[in-house]
Symmetry: C2
Amino acid sequence: MSNHDALKQYDSSLFRTPDGYTSDIAVFTILSSKLGDFKPPLMTLMVMLIKRSKLNAEGLPNIEAGKWALPGGFVQPDESAFEAAKRELEEETGVSSIHIKHYNVYDKPGRDPRGWIISNAHYAIVPEHALEKRKANDDADDVKLFSIDDVLTLDLAFDHRQIIEDAIKVIKHDLLHTTIAKSFLPDQFTYSELQAVLKTVTNDSGITSDQAFARKIKSLPFIKEVPGQKTQRTSKTPTQLYQFIDDVNIVKPIYTARY
Amino acid sequence: MSNHDALKQYDSSLFRTPDGYTSDIAVFTILSSKLGDFKPPLMTLMVMLIKRSKLNAEGLPNIEAGKWALPGGFVQPDESAFEAAKRELEEETGVSSIHIKHYNVYDKPGRDPRGWIISNAHYAIVPEHALEKRKANDDADDVKLFSIDDVLTLDLAFDHRQIIEDAIKVIKHDLLHTTIAKSFLPDQFTYSELQAVLKTVTNDSGITSDQAFARKIKSLPFIKEVPGQKTQRTSKTPTQLYQFIDDVNIVKPIYTARY
DNA sequence: TCAATAGTGTCTTTAAGACAGTATCCG
DNA sequence: CGGATACTGTCTTAAAGACACTATTGA
């Protein structure tokens, strides 16, 4: 019997099927408080949430109205959750080609009072300026940035507290163990700008010590000096600019690392 | 308007919903070819696949019949995909309390000819002896172990080639960057046994060199010597046994590691 | 000249890497 | 006592960590 015949026999009504498949996105940005001319920035890692509106797009009462939640929405049958995340983020911020990554799935029975709804969770990194145009839409009364400390004190919709906690854990890890820090920085950056990004998630003395980090950055295999390029945006002293090298991402096995 | 009223208004038929939600599991084990008494083992990393049967449990023609596929099945509405993976693995192998981890979701439109079916993929590690009792069931004609090299030469069902490739990439990474190697080993093990596990996925000289690795294991913060415990199962010389220390899992940031 | 940022000089300590050598035991 | 596995001794080299010091510039 052919595959085609088998297909004709298949009847999905034999199974109970999910009531929905959503793509949620934890959108991270770093707010860079300019402390003045010739100063390195003070950086704070922020996550963007929406406030769910009283009525939905159809004018019907909305579920979990008034609570803060991750942006996201139902995945369409002709797209993947990743594509849905990309689409929604572009609608929201106007930015495409940014870092988006799946990090977990949330499917615990009862997690959504509307039924059996599976959430595919992503995190995204967008530059600060892209969020200036952020806007409330049909589903949201408000859109706001919260620091990763403040966000967990809010009244959050569904199981979004768990989803956000996990996102924060993942981005903290990825910032220190991959080169995604580059998504928060201009193409060319000073050692103190990279350091400011990393200091949003770590107190490691090898990173927080200026001398140590200024030395270390020269020997990192995935970062190179841009010869002759200097800037004065962080200090009066003209300062060397660096760049991430693409496709170099060495992580030492824990069995050969130094401790 | 209350949350309860909002819920009454909600009608999931407004959306097209998925036709199914499955949990698939890449089951890994290490075949340990005993080369003889007083020898360290030769280890090979294997993945378990099933051969899809001609007819399904209801006696109807099965989809993708005759092809090799990952074990798995439809998630029930009262369980999470992780629980489904656990349940199916216990049905199949009789083993509970083993390492299972979600690593990706597969939801590309058209990936399953039966409709819009979302696969939540996990990998699992089971000890070799647990797979002795492996058996074909209603859905499977055969169950077999393949080396991670051989497996990609097979005719695989659905998009399982991609899912298996990803699983192999993830387990290779996790073996070197987390302490999951412990799932392949007895509680107490010699340096050469741990080395044999790691050699299934790396050629790093710090791991393949006997002297280097025998020295290094003493200074790893997540492994401790078991004082006075020796074995002769790998050599005539009584050999020191080691243990993983729980809850120690240091990974150095790439910005402070040595290169 | 001061204050602030960006470095460099240099010493100590630690560990990686290479290579040779020793230890233990069974058959 | 031969062969195989499990180590240890020792030298060289590289880099981390700490601390003091210099360099550059605008106000």
